[in-house]
């Protein structure tokens, strides 16, 4: 039966994460962006929320009962409401952890998952995006060629979060180039593996506080056992789709914050003797922003609900992610526009959201629910 009501547990998650985002993340947002760094303290406090450990079952030392994708989206929305860079840093390990949880062999689960159930933040990375024009996850240029008991990985990646500080990373590579999504596999490998070279930290337009790196793989030999899912391999499109849902939720959270900021400004800023929101030119922009934020959230939730019900959700996830990328840019652009010159200066958060928003079209991987 159709319902739009959050469960008690979901309401609690929403409330808890939102208060963390408001108290701990948002006040640091500007400073982190200017300094290109995030204090360890906020990440370790964020880790105490147990968002990742809460997805991992007890048998792997976690404390989660059931993996609800919808609940995951609710938490991610609130995190990004606080700050996108911090949200991405905090949840960067989710790609490795959730991929293993969803599709890893029993051995891989036992080996990987307990590390994410401790009290301390455990960095982990993932490498999917490649530095090419028109990059597409279905046509990776990074390849993994089977050679006896090993795979040999070659290729270039970029936007690899926390590559420097992580022990392990999940690397996506084509094992059957030309086969589209079906030809992609994932490999769990230590960052220290020979043939892996982590480059200089990247300088991006937005999400500046998040440490991302280019990573090159040159004849990097990894054991066949490091292939996600073992001999059977993995369902890459499913993993990609889970990540797309997560990105959609982050886009919703950040855009919602930008909407609220614009709303407050429009009611307070006086021009021509009245609040600028009293003019339809501004008011209608805000109305459309509100409609699209809600529309995107529902698209993402519906796709996540399908995932939780084991119904095909890959197409819906792609629609939601692309819709979210467009929505975030539209909302944050208007956020700047509504504030005029004030929106363009760095005293104000909207320019930061605007720069962050453009990233959603380029982001793939990054986080997962």
């Amino acid at each position: 039966m159709v319902s739009f009501e959050l469960s008690d547990e979901q309401k609690m998650v929403q409330e808890t994460v939102n208060s963390f985002a408001a108290d701990q993340m948002e006040p640091l947002m500007r400073e982190c962006d200017e300094q290109n760094s995030i204090p360890e303290e906020v990440i370790s406090k964020g880790w105490e929320l147990g968002l990742l450990g809460g997805c991992i079952p007890e048998e792997y030392e976690g404390f989660g009962e059931e993996l609800s994708t919808v609940t995951g989206l609710i938490a991610l929305e609130e995190l990004a409401w606080g700050d996108l860079s911090m949200a991405l840093h905090l949840m960067a390990p989710s790609v490795l952890a959730i991929s293993v949880l969803d599709q890893g062999t029993e051995e891989q689960k036992k080996q990987i998952l307990p590390a994410f159930c401790g009290e301390e933040f455990k960095a982990a990375s993932s490498a999917l995006v490649e530095p090419y024009y028109n990059f597409c996850p279905s046509a990776l240029r990074t390849t993994a060629v089977n050679d006896g008991d090993e795979y040999v990985i070659n290729g270039k990646k970029c936007l690899v979060p926390l590559a420097q500080e992580s022990e392990n990373m999940l690397v996506f590579a084509a094992t059957a180039p030309g086969m589209g999504f079906a030809g992609v596999d994932a490999f769990i490998i230590p960052v220290s593996t020979k043939g892996v070279k982590v480059g200089e930290r990247e300088k991006n337009m937005g999400i500046k506080a998040l440490a991302t790196y280019p990573v090159t793989f040159k004849d990097c030999r990894v054991p066949a056992a490091s292939r996600l899912g073992g001999e059977a391999g993995c369902d890459f499109l499913r993993l990609l789709s889970r990540s797309r849902l997560a990105l959609a939720a982050l886009a919703v959270g950040m855009s919602r914050r930008a909407l609220e900021h614009s709303r407050d400004y429009a009611t307070q800023r006086i021009a021509f003797g009245e609040p600028i929101g009293s003019r339809q030119a501004i008011a209608f922009m805000i109305a459309e922003m509100a409609i699209e934020v809600d529309a995107t959230r529902l698209l993402a939730w519906e796709a996540a609900w399908r995932c939780d019900r084991n119904i095909d959700f890959e197409k819906e996830a792609a629609l939601a992610k692309n819709y979210a990328a467009d929505m975030a840019m539209m909302v944050c652009d208007r956020g700047v526009q509504i504030m005029g010159g004030h929106g363009y200066v760095r005293d104000n958060p909207v320019e930061l959201w605007f720069r962050n928003a453009r990233g959603f079209a380029a982001f793939e991987g990054f986080v997962m629910v």
């Binding site: 039966m1 159709v2 319902s3 739009f4 009501e5 959050l6 469960s7 979901q10 919808v70 028109n134 990059f135 597409c136 996850p137 279905s138 046509a139 999504f181 499109l237 990609l240 789709s241 709303r263 429009a266 009611t267 009245e274 609040p275 929101g277 009293s278 339809q280 008011a283 209608f284 805000i286 109305a287 459309e288 509100a290 409609i291 809600d294 529309a295 995107t296 529902l298 698209l299 939730w301 519906e302 609900w305 399908r306 019900r309 890959e314 197409k315 819906e316 792609a318 629609l319 939601a320 692309n322 819709y323 079209a361």
Partner: protein, 416 residues
């Protein structure tokens, strides 16, 4: 618990209505577009017999059932309004013009249901469940008062035991059906005191055949041609005193209760208009996808949008917009079913659906090129039909105004 699965009951209804729309409505869609001002009487008689006026546009009847349920099984979660939207979407998938011409209480009946006294409800609503099709209509718009309903100039003056109405109403949906083709009525909005502004505007029930009331024009329209839209002139039209809609406090000209109460029916009708739009949008999208499949065009959803063909991107956008509109609509109705204030969400849904479907159908025609432009296919008709959804029951701009006022916390004086 977030859930997007329709209940078994709604699913069953949806399937039944879809089959009906496909077999009985869609096949005559073109005919009643070309033969404007004619009614598919066989179909309408059948609809009346089978559904007793409880289908599309039959908002009043839906609510009546609702009340019965409330009394008998109080704890059962309600989904009457959501069920209505799903039904509406399927019928409009068949054809918007014909669906709008279906008999039932319509907006006039909805107003009686929402704010009428028990006596008024009994007197005016019983007729819709008879053997013969009967229509109810609502007359608000005037030549100089569209969205600005407070500017209504039609007057109602009490003279002894009667109200005397004078003025002109336009764009009355199903006005001819209600007043000439059946023994229906029209709810007419008139002012009892122009100096009282909105508070002076009251709804009056005028029965078919009342002397002094005349249909002066039947509009020729771009789309939804099967549905009649008329002008009505009132010249010293006398109606009984008790035909003012609502209780004594509603009638008090210092209060806007009556105005507000009838306005509150928009909370239910706006999402339903959104559902109407979505039905037409789904028809266009279904047609387009089937056609592309036959042509051997594969749509690749998961790839980078910049690697898609322009066609793939368009279809992806159309699908996402339609789905977003449907989810916003369901949310607005779910809230209504659960007794939550939903005026904001109702307007958001209507704003999104009205515009999205207008664009979806235009895009479908564009994609199909000369085939889309030809009257051989129904696509061009759907494009004409769907445009009304961004206009009636409050234009897209009015929906944005309502949405913005709520988001900003502004009154109608603060945000005009």
């Amino acid at each position: 618990m977030i859930d997007f699965e329709l209940s078994p009951r709604i699913k069953a209804t949806k399937n039944m209505i879809h089959m009906f729309a496909e077999s009985a409505v869609r096949p005559v869609a073109r005919q009643y577009d070309e033969q404007e001002h004619e009614k598919p009487w066989d179909l309408l008689n059948m609809v009346q017999k089978v559904m007793g006026g409880g289908v599309a546009g039959a908002f009043g009847t839906e609510k009546k059932e609702d009340k019965g349920e409330e009394e008998s099984k109080e704890k059962k979660p309600k989904e009457t309004n959501l069920a209505g939207a799903v039904t509406v979407e399927e019928i409009f998938w068949g054809d918007a013009g014909i669906a709008l011409s279906f008999p039932g209480p319509g907006l006039g009946g909805a107003a009686v249901q929402a704010s009428g006294t028990p006596e008024q409800k009994e007197k005016f609503l019983a007729r819709f469940s008879g053997d013969k099709p009967v229509w109810g209509a609502m007359a608000i718009t005037e030549p100089e008062a569209g969205s600005d309903t407070a500017n209504i100039k039609t007057t109602a003056v009490l003279d002894g035991d009667e109200w005397v109405l004078n003025g002109e109403k336009i764009f009355v949906t199903s006005g001819k059906s209600a007043l000439e083709d059946s023994e229906g009525f029209v709810v007419v909005w008139a002012t009892v005191d122009r100096s009282a502004g909105r508070a002076g505007i009251k709804p009056f029930i005028v029965e078919h055949g009342t002397p002094g009331m005349q249909i002066t024009k039947i509009e020729d329209k771009m789309g939804i041609r099967c549905s009649d839209t008329v002008s009505i002139s009132f010249m010293d039209c006398r109606i009984p005193k008790e035909n003012i809609l609502g209780s004594p406090e509603v009638v008090d000209k210092t209060k806007t209760e009556g105005f507000k109460k009838v306005m509150a029916t928009f909370d239910a009708t706006r999402p339903l208009v959104a559902a109407m739009a979505i039905g037409v949008g789904q028809a266009a999208l279904d047609f387009l996808r089937e056609y592309l499949t036959e042509e051997g065009v594969e749509l690749r959803y998961g790839i980078n949008p910049h690697r898609m063909t322009s066609l793939e991107r368009d279809v992806m956008q159309m699908e996402a917009d339609l789905k977003a509109a449907r989810l916003l609509t369901w949310r607005a109705l779910w809230m209504l079913d659960n007794g939550l204030r939903n005026d904001l969400q109702a307007s958001m849904a209507k704003a999104k659906a009205g515009l999205a479907v207008t664009r979806i159908t235009q895009k479908a025609v564009e994609i199909m090129g000369p085939l889309g432009y030809s009257r051989e296919l129904l696509l061009e008709k759907w494009m004409r039909d769907s445009k009304i959804n961004d206009i009636f029951e409050g234009t897209g701009q009015i929906q944005l105004l309502v949405t913005a006022r709520r988001i900003l916390g502004f009154s109608r004086e603060q945000l005009k």
